[in-house]
């Protein structure tokens, strides 16, 4: 087996058994990256010659290359958010997740491409480059953490961190056929994550196996005094349930989701998962979840409202791009007009509108009420079931460059956004391929802070589905 084909857990074991040296691991991934990066284009910034990176601490990740989405602050690499606004920008400080990875000896070797400021579902809204789906280079990797998912699927790194505001970890993980976990809001510190929508954003791992995701979560989770929304609690070992299998668990299945107008192959993978779960001796219960369009509407109001405020700081005064103008207000306008992309502007305008006097009650405040209702409803469902099983992305990966109506693209988030609205953890698990060979997935959702059980269930199902997670980098059939 090639070193780059090994999972994170396998690499760590081999290094601990002295079968592999840290530098051998790094060299293997550097070589793989050199071989495939031209095709995939996952990375927007990379440490040149990272095989010789020597400044790592002793720790569980020693010798392991890790890639971070380009919206997480690191001193050495740009934190561009794939925007012209911050194209060359390096922060003078490090995000909490970056510090934690370094502390465990991990080598942060690259920053991954994304939709500008994490707004999009294809990574085509990157102002810097176009990332391709490693399973079929004519397709998109999904988004917004498209670069991170593509890099893991292509074997450029064994694991990466993405951020998920409305599905931005899970949907690209689904498109690229890898595991993507959005932890409960508050489990991973957001300090150093460039904010899109603060009350929804959460960092999580993208990896090739459930075990690898659990391993990464062990490293990046924890209370952080620098993030007031970070959960102050005892953090468990997220690997503790991985061997327990499915028996004894109760899964909720929102039957109405499968009656919706979504891709038949997506539906069939959910049904297949249901069969596997039952065969394993676990229970599947029909449940009812709040209407998805309600959650989607609330999401697009709350997320854009927060974004309109979060992105106000890019005004050309202190850092990033600045356009010269006759006075300061013109400078603001010109800088923002020229350096923010169309999708970002669209959302800033939507959010500004939703918060404006006269509209705020009808839009933003109503959306907050809907959010509470959805949260309560999910909490009720979790009184009866351990986990929820359902579709993730309603379709497999789109073709690159497809002309899409923004509303249709927003609609692709229907199954992922309710989880951000409620704050609950959810995981995208590879479930097979379409006839054309594009990856498909199912989504597992757990109750608040229920990551241990969520990972246990995902691992149980992963074993039974046995789906390969390393892309061949063919042009497709």
């Amino acid at each position: 087996m090639n070193i780059y084909e090994m999972t994170l857990a396998q690499l760590i074991a081999a290094r601990e058994e002295k079968e592999l040296k840290p530098e051998e691991i790094l060299a293997a991934f550097a070589e793989r990256t050199a071989a495939v990066e031209d095709k995939v284009a996952s990375f927007v910034d990379i440490i040149p010659d990272f095989a010789s990176k020597e400044d790592q601490e002793n720790g569980i990740l020693q010798g392991i290359p890790v890639a971070l989405k380009a919206n997480m602050a690191t001193r050495e690499l740009t934190t561009s958010c794939a925007s012209k606004m911050l194209a060359e920008y390096k922060t003078p400080y490090e995000s909490t997740v970056a510090s934690k990875i370094k502390k465990e000896g991990g080598a942060i070797v690259a920053k991954t491409n994304m939709d500008e400021f994490a707004m999009g579902s294809t990574t085509e809204h990157s102002a810097l480059q176009t990332t391709k789906n490693p399973w079929n280079l004519n397709h998109v990797p999904g988004g917004s953490s498209g670069g991170a998912a593509a890099a893991v699927a292509a074997g450029e790194v064994p694991c990466a961190l993405g951020s998920d505001t409305g599905g931005s970890i899970r949907q690209p993980a689904s498109f690229c056929g890898v595991v993507g976990l959005k932890p409960t809001y508050g489990v991973v510190s957001r300090y150093g994550l460039v904010a899109f929508a603060s009350s929804l954003d959460q960092i999580g791992p993208i990896a090739r196996t459930v075990e690898d995701a659990a391993l990464m979560l062990n490293i990046i989770s924890g209370h952080d005094e620098k993030d007031s929304t970070s959960a102050a609690m005892e953090y468990p070992d997220y690997r503790q349930g991985l061997d327990k299998d499915l028996a004894g668990l109760t899964f909720g299945l929102p039957g109405s989701y499968l009656e919706m107008d979504i891709d038949e192959e997506v539906k069939s993978k959910v049904q297949k998962a249901v069969r596997e779960i039952k065969e394993a001796g676990a229970e599947v219960k029909e449940i009812e979840l709040p209407p998805v369009d309600l959650a989607l509407a609330a999401y697009y109001i709350i997320a854009t409202a927060e974004a309109s405020s979060n992105l106000a700081r890019y005004d050309g005064v202190r850092y990033g791009a600045r356009e010269e103008a006759g006075n300061v207000m013109e400078m603001f306008a010109k800088t923002r007009s020229k350096n923010l992309g169309p999708e970002v502007k669209r959302r800033i305008m939507l959010g500004t509108y939703a918060l404006s006097a006269g509209y705020q009650d009808e839009l933003y405040k109503k959306a907050l009420k809907v959010r509470t209702i959805i949260k309560d409803k999910y909490a009720q469902v979790f009184e009866e079931v351990d986990l929820i099983l359902g579709p993730n992305s309603p379709t497999p990966a789109f073709k690159l460059g497809e002309d899409k109506n923004p509303l249709d693209v927003y609609y692709a988030d229907i199954f992922t956004v309710p989880v951000n609205i409620s704050g609950f953890p959810a995981l995208s698990l590879p479930a097979g391929f379409t006839e054309q060979g594009l990856p498909l997935s199912v989504q597992l959702i757990g109750p608040a802070f229920g990551e241990v059980k969520l990972l246990q269930a995902a691992r149980g199902l992963e074993k039974r589905l046995a789906v390969p997670t390393l892309a061949t980098l063919d042009q497709g059939r």
Binding site: T79, K226, R313, R318, A357, Q360
Partner: protein, 484 residues
């Protein structure tokens, strides 16, 4: 008909007070005033991408102290909100403030007006962060570039909003004075208007006497001293009165006080007013303030100005005027009680503090409490007067030196030989000389012009540099003349 009496003045004040915490409201940077530009900044207060605010609990405590001292009720569940607007001194493009659930509400400040005391209601007190400061090259209008100093950005402020209970510019000034006094007593700000640690905006309107509905108001900004507030409001009241008297309508707008022209000038109209798009700050958890914590705050409140005044009046049998002057500043009241505690006569101590002490404070332009005088030293000075060791004139000299150097009065008297000359032999010689040198005055005295004795005593004092015991000198002069 006298037109000027038919309107009632309605004023409400919005006061911003910078809190004297060591660090800023949401980061660990120093909140100290006067450092090199941008020396007190970090990724958080510069609003760098990805940074998050963390509440400074000391600032919250300070704000609660202010709220409770002003009799506010506390919103036990309150939160921070974002106030969104673009300006170069605002690093995040929004200010973290409080909107619909302020920390404190429904309070009051008692002021002294011409008609006795009066309560001015407080609508709210809330906590927020300050913005940075722009330094213009030349004036704002013709400057082709400006510098931004973010040292002030993120320093904690409380905003104190009064009810429209103020009825005259004089009352507005009295309100500010009372508010400043209260805050200085709490020790949570230095309330320095020149340095901007206390800022005041005013809402002003007029309404016909007896009318309940408010008239159209204007907001007046840019007043940089208590005097400026009083003058700007007086100007604005007259301006509105003239508009109304000439059958015009007051336009709702923001006006700026031009100190040079001594006028308020229109800044922007209502339609240019910004929509701040307030919404709850998602980066901070809502605040849960327990009753226990509020009780703790209450218990830690110092004696407040009015309480102190009443107590001094009763406990030391002081006139209301004295008690008022002494409690103007808590440091003066402290000196008073310290000195009285050394077994001194309260009224005598009060006289010295109201007279010499406050005169020197004003002359030196320093804050009370920052001089070297202590209550104990004042007491020992009074001892020296009481025992006849020094005269009260000499005492003033000694007082000034203690005030400046902190030296013990007894030591000063000793060192400079200021002891009163009460020795009859020593004084007798001097008097013999004076009497010999002033035959005219002696003649006058013999002719019954007693006033001339005063002249001779004056000569004795001059000769002894004020050290002679005046009563003794008087007596000895009479004896000397009688003997001749």
């Amino acid at each position: 008909m006298v037109m000027s009496n038919k309107y009632e003045v309605v004023i409400g004040l919005e006061v911003h007070v910078q809190l004297l915490t060591e660090s800023k409201l949401f980061c660990g940077c120093s909140a100290e005033y006067g450092a090199e530009p941008n020396a007190h900044t970090c990724p958080v207060c510069l609003g760098l991408p990805g940074t998050l605010p963390v509440l400074n609990k000391e600032a919250l405590r300070y704000a609660l102290l202010a709220a409770r001292a002003a009799d506010c009720k506390i919103n036990k569940f309150c939160k921070f909100d974002r106030k969104n607007y673009f300006y170069p001194d605002l690093p995040k493009g929004y200010q973290i403030s409080q909107y619909d659930l302020p920390l404190g509400y429904d309070g009051r400040i008692t002021i002294e007006s011409e008609t006795g005391t009066k309560d001015i209601g407080l609508t709210r007190i809330h906590l927020e962060e300050d913005a940075g400061k722009l330094v213009h090259q030349g004036t704002v209008g013709d400057s082709d570039h400006s510098y931004v100093d973010y040292n002030r950005g993120g320093v904690p402020l409380i905003e104190i909003v009064s009810e429209p209970d103020i009825r005259s510019p004089q009352e507005a000034r009295a309100y500010l004075k009372a508010l400043k006094q209260l805050i200085l007593y709490l020790g949570i700000s230095d309330c320095n208007m020149e340095e901007g640690s206390l800022r005041c905006d005013a809402n002003v309107s007029l309404r016909p006497v007896g009318e309940e509905k408010f008239g159209t108001k204007t907001e007046v900004k840019n007043m940089n001293s208590f005097r400026a507030v009083e003058r700007a409001l007086a100007y604005e009241v007259e301006r509105q009165r003239e508009v109304l008297n000439s059958q015009g309508e007051v336009v709702q707008e923001t006006r700026t006080w031009d100190e040079g022209k001594q006028k308020t000038l229109s800044m922007r109209g209502k339609e240019e007013a910004e929509d701040y798009r307030y919404f709850p700050e998602p980066d901070l958890m809502p605040l849960q303030i327990s009753q226990d914590y509020i009780d703790e705050i209450d218990a830690s409140l110092p004696e407040l100005p009015l309480e102190k005044k009443e107590r001094l009046q009763q406990e030391y049998d002081l006139p209301a005027y004295d008690a008022g002057v002494l409690t103007q500043d808590k440091e003066v009241a402290k000196l008073f009680e310290e000195a009285v505690g050394q077994d001194q006569d309260p009224k005598e101590v009060s006289n010295w503090l109201m007279g010499e002490y406050l005169r020197l404070i004003k002359e030196e332009n320093i804050d009370p409490g920052t001089s070297e005088l202590t209550g104990e030293k004042l007491a020992s000075l009074l001892e020296l007067i009481d025992s006849g060791t020094i005269s009260s004139n000499i005492a003033k000299e000694v007082f000034a030196e203690t005030f400046n150097s902190g030296k013990d009065p007894e030591e000063i008297v000793e060192e400079r030989g200021l002891k009163q000359i009460s020795d009859e032999d020593e004084l007798g010689e001097i008097i013999a000389e004076i009497v010999a040198d002033n035959p005219g005055a002696v003649e006058d005295i013999r002719n019954g012009k007693d006033k001339a004795i005063g002249f001779l005593v004056g000569q004795v004092m001059k000769k002894t540099k004020g050290k002679a015991n005046p009563q003794l000198a008087n007596q000895l002069i009479r004896e000397e003349i009688a003997e001749e």
